[in-house]
């Protein structure tokens, strides 16, 4: 075993892990270890394939290295500068992409509602957007499997959508914001339920992985879970992959794809500790997320003869509403997204396509202060005094549909980063549908917060999550990959992450990314 392999083995509590040579032509080279890459790597390795995982960030040891301190956890985010353009510039960093083994799952809130069947048939149902080339039914067994593997706590029965098996664990306890949202919604006859969250409400033996501790309500999911209760990839699918014989290479930033005369990728160049290394592979799985995946494709002029790479960038309408309450909320405690309502999934009489879910949200003080400054423009003594009501602050949030537009896109800028590679520019203009949905959502949230007794209410318009920049489709002219994630142009390249989403779904993306990742692996294996 190499010294690197020993470090990884010890970090994940394993006796031994495999290590491949750079001249070995591995069966699968997986770039990115977030929800797109990790489940797939585990599945392929379990089937006996030789698998190497490249991760740009490091392998954190959450138990000893994760501080309950927002600024100290800054390194969990993808902090290479992205340039946000358009009329609705998207905030990155703290949002959207992770840095480290586990990728974005290191800082996802663990909120894992399933998308609804009609989310996959937006075009058929509303005349807008596009349909997925995959039916909702096809993903059901994968949703079941992911929920059991990572350990999802949720209400059984679940009030919305088709009948589904019980969640493996009972719901997590409700914090102040969840109680307030329930109070407001009860007043208005809006149905609510404890939200499905990938955090263990009771100790749970993750199948094939081992026992996990129950969540301690530390509320810090968005800046790293130090207890292992949250089902992030580094404590679930990564150990599964390593046990099945995959090799993990942290600190390895992929930059170049070498293409042979037949148009196949023959090797991937990556930088590690300032050195340039190259790994040969039969098949490459690009799982770097909806910004870095198209960026790598564009940098390497790969799979883009139809000029579709980077286009159709989408982000959820993610409007938040904040208010101050008479009661103490202490919004830093408990699972942040404790409550859900999907009653607005397809609102009656709406003047827009699609819909949204509503969730209660917790928040840490630095994030809250930053949003207060950005959203309300408060400064001076007014800001200092408002912050002294942080303990009484509670928020609710929507996640809503965003229609694809070819002009919302990721491109390369003329500026270069520390690796001397062009920075990505992300242009995003919210269209009429997004604006109408956001206005509807704000009315709904204001009614709920008024009914719950909020004062000093303010909205924070935002767009969150990223999707759609290498979308899947059956039409080779308007998509980048097929339903199995395979590039239309490069025979041995498959994409597995949120970039393949044809529509953004009215649900948080991670569960679907993981389910698709497993399906993509199974489709790959079926073809061998």
């Amino acid at each position: 075993m190499s010294s690197d392999a020993r470090v990884i083995a010890s970090r994940y509590g394993l006796g031994e892990t495999r290590a491949f040579g750079h001249d070995d032509v591995v069966d699968a080279l997986v770039i990115g270890t977030g929800p797109g890459g990790a489940p797939l790597a585990a599945r392929l390795a379990a089937a006996g394939l030789s698998v190497v995982m490249l991760e740009a960030g490091r392998a954190w040891d959450p138990g000893t290295e994760f501080a309950t301190d927002e600024a100290a956890q800054h390194g969990l985010f993808w902090n290479d500068e992205r340039i946000s353009a358009g009329t609705n510039p998207i905030a990155f960093g703290r949002n959207n992409s992770g840095y480290g083994v586990g990728g974005g799952s290191l800082h996802y809130t663990a909120y894992v509602p399933r998308p609804q069947p009609d989310d996959f048939r937006l075009r058929s149902g509303t005349g807008e957007g596009v349909d997925w080339p995959i039916a909702h039914d096809e993903l059901l067994p994968y949703f079941d499997e992911v929920e059991r593997t990572i350990g999802v706590s949720g209400p059984s029965p679940y009030p919305w959508g088709p009948p589904r098996p019980d969640y493996p664990l009972p719901p997590l306890p409700r914090n102040g914001a969840a109680q307030l949202m329930a109070r407001g919604c009860d007043e208005l006859d809006i149905r609510t339920a404890s939200a499905p969250n990938a955090a263990l409400s009771v100790p749970y033996d993750r199948p094939g992985i081992g026992p996990g501790r129950a969540c301690t309500n530390r509320g810090f999911c968005q800046a790293g879970c130090s207890t292992g209760a949250k089902g992030s990839m580094d404590v679930t699918y990564i150990p599964l992959a390593l046990r099945a014989g995959a090799e993990l290479r942290p600190g390895s930033h992929a930059t170049l794809f070498e293409v042979d005369g037949r148009g196949h990728i023959s090797g991937v160049v990556y930088s590690r500790d300032g050195r340039e290394l190259r790994q040969r592979a039969h098949h490459v799985f690009l799982c770097a997320g909806a910004i870095e995946t198209p960026r790598l494709m564009l940098l390497n002029r790969l799979g883009n003869r139809n000029d579709q790479v980077g286009r159709h960038f989408m982000a959820h309408v993610g409007l938040q509403l904040w208010g101050t309450f008479d009661e103490d909320v202490r919004p830093y405690k408990g699972i942040p997204g404790g409550l859900i309502s999907e009653d607005t999934h397809r609102p009656a009489g709406a003047n827009f396509a699609g819909g949204y879910l509503v969730q209660s949200i917790g928040i840490m003080p630095v994030t809250y202060a930053g949003q207060l400054a950005r959203g309300r423009g408060l400064w001076g003594p007014a800001l200092r005094e408002h912050m002294r009501r942080y303990v009484n602050a509670a928020g609710i949030n929507v996640l809503g549909e965003c229609l694809p537009s070819p002009d919302n896109r990721v491109e390369l800028s003329g500026e270069t980063d520390v690796r001397r590679l062009p920075k990505p520019v992300i242009s995003f203009d919210a269209g009429p549908n997004e604006r109408a949905l956001a206005a509807h959502a704000e009315r709904t949230l204001r009614a709920i917060w008024d009914a719950a007794g909020a004062r000093d209410v303010w909205s924070f318009p935002r767009f969150a999550h990223t999707a759609g920049t290498c979308r899947m489709g059956t039409d080779r002219d308007t998509s980048v990959v097929d339903a199995d994630g395979r590039s239309h142009e490069v025979p041995n390249l498959t994409i597995s992450d949120n970039s393949t989403f044809p529509s953004v779904l009215a649900a948080n993306p991670s569960l679907t990314i993981m389910a698709l990742s497993l399906r993509t692996a199974d489709r790959h294996l079926a073809r061998r």
Binding site: T64, A67, T68, D69, A71, A72, F77, N79, D80, E81, R82, I83, S84, G86, P89, I90, F92, G93, R94, P173, R174, N175, G176, L180, T216, N217, R218, G219, F220, S226, F325, E327, D328, V329, R330, Y332, K333, G334, M364, P365, V366, A369, G370, L372, A373, R374, G377, W379, G380, P381, L383, R384, E385, M387, R388, Y390, V391, E415, V425, S427
Partner: protein
């Protein structure tokens, strides 16, 4: 350091919160304690690293207006933290496409603010009375700045970025966290009381302060 004729920050209702005691307790992990202690120990070098001395003087004056700390015995040097970040070439993962890179945007904005001080009130920004500084900053926030220096440099967006960074820096530290009664860092072994109006015993309570009568505050339990 701040003119007493302008609005001051009243005393915190969490004036009795013993954050240092809490940080020393078993409720705080070693990693968390280390992070807060390191941040608190930072001191500014005599000469700024990236910004010029005159630019730094304006930035310090801006910081006092945006995040006043006249109630703090040992205020955080927010301008220094920005200069340190620029020197380390660190960022938060994105920037507005309408702005140039951070060091250029901030440096130029400080030069422009100084220029606005001379044009409007015949003195450099840092030497103006607080009311005049606030007037200029409010115009900057509204995007109403004139002069060639602002071409290709949205005043409102730079204002927003500076404000967010200063505010986040202040509340990332123990001074800001004590001020708002935040005990979230003391999360060991876990939180038992997470509902409305529920409190774990180690979390602080608010006390009523009469700021009108006495700046030292009359403390009474709520």
């Amino acid at each position: 350091m701040v003119d007493t004729t302008t609005a001051r920050v009243p005393r915190s209702p969490y004036a009795t919160f013993d954050l240092d005691g809490l940080l020393a307790s078993d409720h705080v992990s070693a990693a968390t304690r280390r992070a807060l202690a390191e941040r608190r120990a930072i001191t500014a070098p005599p000469v700024p690293r990236v910004l010029s001395v005159p630019q730094m003087r304006v930035l310090r004056a801006v910081a006092i207006r945006l995040v006043p700390q006249d109630d703090q015995e040992d205020p955080v040097d927010l301008a220094d933290r920005i200069d340190a970040r620029l020197a380390a070439r660190e960022g938060d993962g994105w920037r507005y496409g309408a702005l140039p890179p951070d060091a250029e945007a901030i440096g130029t904005a400080m030069v422009n603010l100084d220029q606005s001080g001379w044009e409007r009130f015949s003195a450099g920004f840092a030497d103006l009375p607080p009311e005049r500084q606030d007037e200029i900053l409010a115009a900057m926030q509204r995007g109403e700045m004139e002069g060639q220096g602002w071409e290709g440099l949205s005043p409102a967006l730079i204002f927003e970025e500076l404000l967010v960074e200063m505010v986040e820096t202040f509340y990332a530290g123990s001074r800001g966290q004590r001020d708002i009664g935040y005990a979230g860092m003391a999360d060991l072994p876990g939180w038992d009381h997470i509902g409305l109006d529920e409190r774990d015993l180690r979390e602080p309570i608010r006390v009523q302060i009469d700021n009108r009568q006495d700046r030292t505050g009359q403390l009474t339990g709520e």
